[in-house]
């Protein structure tokens, strides 16, 4: 047989499926012609006409059989019979609307939850990265045990040492920095100061213009800017002529040379990349020689043929030598270490736990839904047994019946998948918000073909499962069916056991989910109870940056750079004063303060020294948050004075240097002594790179702690310097109001705009909003897990009630007999309650055990509550028990109302 012949044949048969009655009529005519010719021949041979036709018919082998055989050849029989199955399944399901609706909705919820969360996992963790050969990229992280030591970055000498690693082909460096993008609606933008090899190493291409290259390195070159795709789109409306235009950053005009393709940026969002020349500091001798001056993030590309393990070993060796040769930069108690993490993993590391937790919760919900549907199918199977047995007796094979069930179940699960995809589309929008807090790849989340494939695979697997739990009669079951008087016949006991096991599993899984939800909810409650340390929440805060850090042309070293910004500082302070005066005059404002940082916001840690307490080599340097505050800052914020005094107008530039510390500072560095009158000073290499002074400062006051950096964070040691005595890197306003502080937003913004029209106003928030923002990710987690938990409980409740109701309906006769023999309603009720209660109790015990052993994975997401919090477990168990008993009661009541007379007669 030639291939073309086969192909033509298949094609003809496929088209034959569509062609209909005209072909049949034609065939009948052809067969009739054949018959007539045969009859005529027979007559010619001398038969009587009737006999001639009869003989011809006999020889034909049957016209109907023939047309069926031709029909089978014309079309593809199994495809046709599947179409028949689909029509049949559709009719069957239409006649069981309640069953169909429950199954579709249950599966839809299960598939929807799973598909939505899978789409997030796919976008954030699984999808390929846009970088060329992204699997060769490795993120390097230096960290210590110290507070804020999670990601130190690297210093220039450290990067230079690492370049010796031969398993690393190239190292891309970038320093996170921020500038004010001036112009209409000025904003602060995040920039990366990059070396010329950055984009080549990262494997990224421009979509417009060019990217930075090695000739952009070093001093004496013009500054250039590369925009990220997202920033180009959102800020410049995807202007196709952007290349060659200039952007004004901190007072310096910088030409845009290109736009880089969309890619996730790590560890921070980046709006633009600049070459180093924009920041003379980055080219200064101090930066290049200061080993502990760590400002650079690095991503390396593995050398061809090098493996990750080789790189880890080699970098580990180099790092060991670095620590040995430069003990002063790596004190031994802080456990300096460096980790090599595949770039894709690094991008997903913060999201991974949360997402897998959600995926597990969603999978649990799907298990419960599937269990419910299996139970429903089993019960329905009993009612359909008679039908299936008759079909088997009429010649349908086991395979044919299974196929019928499979088609029916596929229709159910696919309908569920369609509903689920609808739910997923809605859910994904919500989840993108969640993912954006944990991952730079949130924008890649979407319902695409991979996700559709996932939902489809889920529904096919479920359909297969459902088709194989159902009972299918084999050959010869007709007889046993007739013998049994068309009643239930096979596998009743086994089936009941399966049903009961499923109910137990549903309860157990619901308890686990509820326990997780309970723990996360308790975490929320604990967080809401945390005191911010501020006496009032009637505060509006915002940041205004007036100082420009763009290097003035000609400033080539730190000294001249500092001189220029110190000169500018005088004017900046006058502007801040003017803003404060005008804001204070606004109606409703009771107090205005200014400092470097808003309360509840974390500031940068600085190494300090304490008078009379030298630090030995190898010992960690004491550290504290560095902030400034003016005379009214503490009162405006409602930060209580614990001892000593606040800043006074006399703490001017030139006057004695003073400092106010917080309670944690006092407790950590002055345990058992009075800190007032003691002296502290900034110290360390870092000091050389700033215009701050390392002079001794006398402690004049102690204030209360505030929850800086989040309600769940441990308090940090903080020192405040007088706003008037220090450079105004930034200005954070604290405005206290006697009414709703949010109402002051527009008036305050107007004042700032008038005084400094090009200055960006950022983070305008009330304290209530700051608190809310700090809780939001956990609240979303808790809400998601709780909704999945509640969903699980609802489905499980329906499951328990359904199985018991079914059990009651199959035992109607037995119950009737019991009652006619003297059992009263209460006894019957107890019997059914006992049956359900046993299942419930087993499920509860198993669920609590599961929660007990599984809770530790939640540890990192909890606050103020232990993973095995007894209160939560007890409440969850009681709630589940109560709901379960209600679910058992309904069928129990129905059982008790059985009329023995009717029950016995209905045999």
């Amino acid at each position: 047989m030639s291939i073309f012949g086969t192909l033509r044949g298949t094609l003809a048969r496929l088209t034959g499926l569509a062609a209909g009655h005209s072909r049949d009529a034609e065939l009948r005519e052809e067969l009739e012609a054949h018959l007539e010719m045969a009859t005529a021949e027979n007559i010619r041979r001398g038969m009587a006409p009737d006999e001639a036709r009869r003989q011809a018919l006999l020889a034909s082998g049957g016209l109907t059989l023939a047309s069926e055989a031709v029909h089978a050849q014309r079309t593809i029989p199994w495809l046709e019979s599947i179409a028949a199955d689909v029509r049949y399944a559709f009719r069957t399901l239409r006649h069981a609307p309640a069953y169909t609706a429950i199954v579709v909705v249950t599966l839809g919820l299960g598939i929807g939850a799973n598909t939505a969360i899978f789409s997030v996992i796919d976008g954030v963790l699984l999808k390929a990265l846009p970088h060329r050969d992204a699997d060769r990229l490795v993120y390097l992280r230096q960290s210590t045990d110290a507070v804020d030591g999670g990601n130190l970055g690297f210093s220039v000498p450290e990067v230079t040492d690492l370049r010796a690693a031969r398993s690393l082909g190239a190292i891309a460096e970038y320093s996170p920095f921020s500038f004010t993008l001036e112009g209409e609606a000025a904003i602060r933008i995040n920039v990366g100061l990059v070396t010329g090899n950055f984009f080549e190493t990262m494997g990224l291409a421009p979509i417009l213009g060019r990217l930075t290259k090695p000739s952009d390195d070093g001093p004496g070159v013009p500054p250039v800017a590369v925009l990220t795709e997202q920033f180009w789109r959102t800020r410049f409306g995807a202007d196709p002529n952007i290349v060659g235009k200039t952007v004004k950053l901190d007072g310096r005009a910088v030409p845009v040379i290109g736009v880089v393709q969309a890619a996730p940026w790590f560890p921070n969002r980046v709006d633009a990349f600049l070459n180093m020349v924009i920041s003379p500091h980055h080219l200064s001798a101090q930066m290049i020689q200061g080993r502990s001056h760590r400002m650079t993030e690095i991503v390396a590309r593995l050398a061809p043929a090098a493996t990750l393990d080789q790189a880890r070993t080699e970098v580990g060796g180099i790092y060991e030598r670095m620590r040995r040769d430069h003990r002063e930069s790596y004190d031994s108690t802080s456990h300096y270490r460096v980790a090599l993490i595949p770039f894709k993993e690094a991008l997903g590391e913060r999201a991974r736990t949360t997402l897998f937790l959600l995926m597990a919760a969603a999978a649990f919900v799907l298990i419960i839904s599937a269990a419910n549907v299996v139970n429903l199918t089993l019960m329905r199977g009993v009612r359909r047994e008679a039908e299936l047995v008759v079909r088997a007796a009429l010649g349908a094979g086991v395979g044919r019946l299974r196929r019928l069930l499979l088609v029916e179940n596929l229709m159910l699960t696919l309908a569920g998948a369609v509903l689920g995809l609808g739910i997923a589309f809605g859910g994904v929008k919500l989840l993108v918000g969640l993912a954006a807090r944990y991952s730079p790849r949130a924008s890649e989340i979407g319902v695409d073909f991979v996700v559709l494939g996932f939902a489809l695979a889920l529904s096919v697997v479920l359909a297969l499962l459902l088709s194989f739990v159902a009972f299918v009669p084999g050959e010869g079951t007709m007889a046993s069916l007739v013998n049994a008087g068309f009643r239930r016949m096979a596998g009743t006991l086994v089936r009941q056991r399966v049903q009961r096991a499923l109910v137990v599993a549903q309860v157990a899984v619901s308890v686990v989910l509820l326990a997780g939800a309970g723990l996360l909810t308790r975490t929320m409650m604990q967080l809401a109870e945390v005191h911010t340390g501020l006496q009032t929440e009637q505060l509006l805060t915002f940041d205004v940056t007036l100082m420009r850090f763009g290097a003035p042309a000609g400033a080539t070293d730190n000294a001249s750079f500092f001189r220029s910004i110190l000169a500018a500082d005088v004017h900046v302070k006058q502007q801040y004063e003017q803003m404060m005066d005008e804001i204070r005059a606004l109606p409703g404002v009771t107090q205005v303060g200014i400092g470097s940082t808003t309360p509840l916001e974390a500031a940068q840690l600085w190494p300090i020294k304490i008078d009379g307490r030298p630090v030995a080599v190898g010992e960690p340097m004491p550290q504290a948050d560095w902030r400034t505050a003016n005379t009214t800052y503490f009162r405006a914020s409602g930060i209580p004075l614990v001892a000593g005094r606040e800043f006074a107008a006399t703490d001017r530039p030139g006057a004695a240097r003073v400092v106010v510390i917080n309670r944690t500072f006092a407790e950590r560095y002055f345990p058992n002594e009075d800190p007032i009158g003691k002296r502290v000073a900034l110290t360390g290499e870092v000091l050389q790179f700033t215009p701050l002074s390392g002079d001794w400062r006398t402690i004049v006051g102690i204030v209360g702690n505030t929850q800086d950096g989040g309600l769940d964070k441990p308090p940090r040691p903080v020192m405040f310097f007088p706003f008037a005595q220090e450079l105004s890197f930034a200005g954070s306003f604290v405005i206290r109001s006697d009414s709703n502080p949010a109402l002051l937003n527009p008036a305050a913004a107007r004042i700032v705009r008038r005084v400094a029209p090009t200055a960006p106003i950022e983070h305008m928030m009330t304290v209530a909003q700051i608190k809310d923002q700090s809780i939001a990710p956990r609240r979303l987690n808790a809400a998601l897990i709780s909704s999945l938990g509640i969903l699980a409980v609802i489905i499980a409740t329906v499951g328990i009630a359904g199985v018991l109701a079914f059990s009651v309906s199959t035992r109607t006769q037995e119950i009737g007999i019991r009652m006619s023999l003297g059992a009263n309603q209460a006894q019957v009720e107890r019997m059914i309650l006992g049956e359900g209660g046993t299942l419930l109790a087993i499920g509860l015990v198993l669920g609590l055990a599961g929660a007990f052993f599984g809770a530790s994975i939640l540890r990192g997401m909890l606050f103020g509550v232990a993973p095995r919090d007894p209160t939560t477990f007890v409440v969850v168990a009681l709630a589940m028990a109560a709901i379960g008993i209600v679910a058992c009661w309904i069928p129990a009541l129905r059982a008790a109302r059985i009329d023995p007379a009717i029950a016995m007669r209905s045999t």
Partner: protein, 117 residues
């Protein structure tokens, strides 16, 4: 009428070849004619019922080896006439060759007497 025991079932795969050969020899022909010719050639040892013949004709048509058209028959009746296409002619040559080879092979295979062990 031939003896019942002499009747043969049409062997799988051979019917198509017989039809093609018949059409090659006799030219365009209706189903009845094809059946008669095959039965006569086989000296009535083969009988073809419609359920065997017509699906086979349809299959050849689908594969493009024969084409069919409605015509007046010799006794003035409308009948569907089948004729060979160019592809059918090629297919006939190929199948004939293959059949000869198979027949030779089987004959050679069955020829030798039992050999002494």
């Amino acid at each position: 009428m031939p003896d019942r025991s002499e009747k043969l079932e049409v062997q799988q795969g051979t019917l198509a070849l017989m039809i093609l050969k018949t059409l090659d020899v006799l030219g365009p022909l209706h189903g009845y004619g094809v059946a008669r010719r095959i039965e006569e050639t086989s000296k009535n040892r083969l009988t073809l019922n419609y359920g065997t013949l017509y699906p086979a004709l349809l299959k050849l048509e689908q594969e493009g080896f024969v084409k069919a058209e409605w015509r007046q028959s010799e006794n003035n009746r409308r009948a569907k006439y089948y004729s060979l296409t160019a592809a059918g002619r090629k297919q006939l040559a190929r199948e004939t060759r293959e059949w000869h080879q198979t027949a030779e092979l089987i004959a050679a295979f069955l020829a030798p007497k039992r050999e002494a062990p």
